[in-house]
Symmetry: D2
Subunit: 224 residues, 4 copies
C-alpha cells in the first residue's frame, strides 16, 4: 500500500505543524515525492486528517487510533474514521501514546480488516520482536534515549537497527522496519537503509527546521 523505501513524517502536535503550516508541510511532502520519486508519507495533526487527505495525493496516516470500534467514544479517533477520512493507515503505540499489548493486537488486526496500513512504534529489539507477532505492515524502532536528540539511531546504535530487522523478519517476514529517532540527513537515511531498514520515521528534525522542504528533500535523496 505504501511503497518502500519510505520517508514518513509525523508532525506531532507542534505549533509549527498546524493550520496553514500543517497544510504546507503536507504539500512539501507531496512535492518532494514528485521530484525525487521517493515514497513520502505524512501523519498530520488529528484534527486535520480529513482535510489533508482531501488535498494531497501521497499516503496520509493518523497519528493514533483506538482499539475499540466506532461508537459512543467522545473525543477519540477510531479506525473507521481514519478510513472514512481517506487515510492510508495509522501509527500505533507511538512513544508519546503507548498502548497495551491487547490493544496493539486489536488495532493491527482490525486495521487489516479495514484495509488500513499499520506502523507500530517500538523502543527496543525486544519490543520490536514482540510486536512483530501481530504482523503489522511496518515497525518503527525508536530508542527513546535518542528521540529528539539529532543523533541518528543508525549511527549511535546501528546494532539496534540491524538486530531489530533480523528479529522482526524472523517472526514476520512481511513486516518492514523503519528507523526512527535522530534521523536528520540524507546520509542518515542511507545508513538506515544499509542496515536493512526500509524507510525512516521523522518528526521534529523536519517540522522545526527553518526550511522543512529542503530538509525533506535532502532526506529523500538519501533514499534514492
Amino acid at each position: 500500500m505504501i511503497d518502500v523505501p519510505v520517508v514518513m513524517l509525523n508532525v506531532k502536535a507542534y505549533r509549527e505543524s498546524m493550520g496553514a503550516s500543517g497544510m504546507e508541510l503536507a504539500r512539501a511532502c507531496e512535492r518532494v515525492a514528485e521530484s525525487t520519486g521517493v515514497s513520502v508519507a505524512i501523519c498530520p495533526q488529528q484534527t486535520e486528517l480529513a482535510l489533508i487527505c482531501r488535498e494531497v495525493e501521497i499516503p496520509v496516516l493518523a497519528q493514533h487510533a483506538e482499539a475499540f470500534e466506532a461508537g459512543a467514544h467522545t473525543g477519540y479517533v477510531v479506525l473507521e474514521a481514519v478510513k472514512e477520512a481517506g487515510a492510508a493507515g495509522t501509527l500505533v503505540n507511538h512513544s508519546e501514546h503507548r498502548m497495551t499489548v491487547a490493544d496493539i493486537e486489536a488495532v493491527v488486526s482490525r486495521a487489516k480488516e479495514l484495509g488500513l496500513c499499520t506502523v507500530v512504534c517500538t523502543s527496543s529489539v525486544a519490543t520490536s520482536r514482540a510486536c512483530a507477532v501481530f504482523e503489522p505492515d511496518f515497525i518503527a524502532v525508536e530508542p527513546p534515549e535518542l528521540i529528539g536528540t539529532g543523533i541518528p539511531v543508525s549511527k549511535a546504535e546501528p546494532e539496534v537497527v540491524r538486530r531489530s530487522v533480523e528479529a522482526v523478519k524472523e517472526i514476520s517476514p512481511g513486516t518492514r522496519v523503519l528507523c526512527g529517532a535522530g534521523i536528520s540527513t540524507g546520509e542518515d537515511v542511507r545508513a538506515a537503509l544499509e542496515l536493512g531498514a526500509e524507510g525512516v520515521l521523522l518528526a521534529s528534525g523536519v517540522v522545526k527546521a527553518e526550511r522543512p522542504e529542503e530538509v525533506l528533500l535532502s532526506l529523500a535523496k538519501g533514499a534514492v
Copy 2:
C-alpha cells in the same frame, strides 16, 4: 461567542456520523439554524474538525482537547490546533473522556487565553458546582444514569437541572447551563429551558435517528 439558547450536537465517534454522513449532519445543523433562527452548534469527529470548520458557518467545537500546550504529543489534540482549525471551542471532561480537576482548570484557563469557548460536562449538582469554580462558558449536566436512555433529565430529574443552574450561577453567574442526557423532543428542550437551562447537548438521539434533520428541527423549535 455562542448565542443562547443553543442546541449543541456531539456526534461522538459513531459510524453514522463520520465521512459524508458527518458532513451531512453539519450541514443539517446549519440549515436548521438558518430556518429557525435558533443557535445550533456541532462537535464533529476529531479527524473532521478542520474540514467541517471550513464548510459550515455555525459554531463548531472539538469533542476534547488536552490540558498541555502544543508540542511533542503524537496523536493528541491540543487547544492551539482547535483554534487553528477555526473551531469556536471544545467540550471538556465529557463522561466518555473524563479529566482531572487540575486539567479541567488548565484547559478552561488556556482556552480563555486563546479566545476559545469551553463546555464542561458534569454528572451531578455537586460536580457542576465544583466545575463552576473555573468559570467556563458552559456547563452541561448529564446524569450518567440517563445517558442514552431517551429519558430527558428535564423530566426524570427536573431538580437536578434546577439545582445545577442555581449552584452554577451562585459560583459563576456568567456560566450557562446546558441540559444533556435524554433530550429527544422539542418539548424536552422547552422543559429544560423552563428549568433555567440555556440550551441542550444532544448526541445519539439525533445521530442515530432515521431522519436526523427532522429531529434537529423539532428540537430547535422547542427553543424558539
Copy 3:
C-alpha cells in the same frame, strides 16, 4: 477523627520508606506524637498498609484508593480494603495520582459512608475551592511548582494558603486545610498554622532526611 493541628507524613514509594525503614518511620511518628502531644499521622506504602496499621496507634491513611467498589479489580486498592486494614482514611487526588472530578466526588462520598477520613490534595486556590464542594475532611494545598523544593508554600506564596483557607471555608466550613509542599522546619509549620491551615502534609523532607525522627520532632514542635 484526626485531631488538629496535624502533622501528616506521606512516605510515597521511596526506597527509604519501605520494609524495615517504613516501619521505623511509622514508629518514629508514633513516638513524636507521644512526646509532643501533637497529632501525627502516616501514609505508608500501599503494600504495608495493613501491617503498619496493626503495629502503631496513630492514624494511618492509604496513599490512594479507587472510586469503584470492592470487586474484580486486580491490583487496585478499594476503600473497603483501606477500612479492613484498620486505616483511618486515605489521601485523594495526590499530584502524583490525579483523579477525575467524578471520581473525587465518589471517593469522598463513599469514604463518608464507610467512616473513613479523606484528605483531598489540590494545586491552587481554584482547585481547592472546587474540591471543597465535596466536603472532604481535609484539603491539602500543594502548589506543584513548590513540591520537593524545600521552599515552604507558607513563605513563598502565603496568599495561596490564606486564600485557599478562605475559599474552602466559604464552601465547606467543616473542611480543614493542610499546607503541603516545601515544609521543612517547625517555623514553616507555625507560619502555615498562622495563615489558617490546621496542619501540614510532608514527604521527602522527612523521608529523605538523615535523621527523620529529629526532623519530625522539630516539625511537630512548630505545631505545639
Copy 4:
C-alpha cells in the same frame, strides 16, 4: 522459585478476600499446599501484601507492580516494595490492569534483577507469543471471553492452551504457561496440565465459593 505444577490464587479486590477473610484464604492455601504436596501460591490484596508475606510460608505475589523505580510515586506499588514485603514476585498485565509493551518489558527485566518472579497475563495465542519475548517466568493465558464464566479454557478452547504453550516455548523455552479463566474443578486442572500448562491461575471460583478451602483442595488434587 515457584515449583510447578502450581495452583495460583489471585484474590483480586473482592470484599470476600480482604481483612480476616484475606488472611484465612492465605492460610487455606498454605494448608492445602501442606496436605497435598502441591505448590500453591497466593496474590493477596495489595494493602495486605506485607502482612500476609509475614504470616504464611507459601509463595506470595503482588497483583500488580509499576514499571518505574522506587521514588515519588504516591499510591503506586513498585517492585522494590514487593521485594521488601517478602513477596516472591508479581502478576503483570492482568486483564483488569493492562500495561504497555514497553512497561511489560521494563517490569519483567527489573524483576529479574531483583530476583522476583513474573507472571504475565495474556488474552490470546498471539499476545502470549509476544510476551514470551521478554522471557518471564510464567505466562498465564486467560481468554477474556471466559473470565468469570466457570467455563474452563482447557475445555472450551483447548487449542488456545495447546497453541499458547507451543508458541511460548518456541520463543522462550524456560517460560511456563498457566491456564487461567474458568478453572473450577480438579478435572479442569488435570485437563490444563495435559494440554501442556504447568499450573492454573484462579480467582472468583475460589474466593466466592462457600467453602474456599474445599474448592482449593479439589483443585490441588487435580495437580497431584
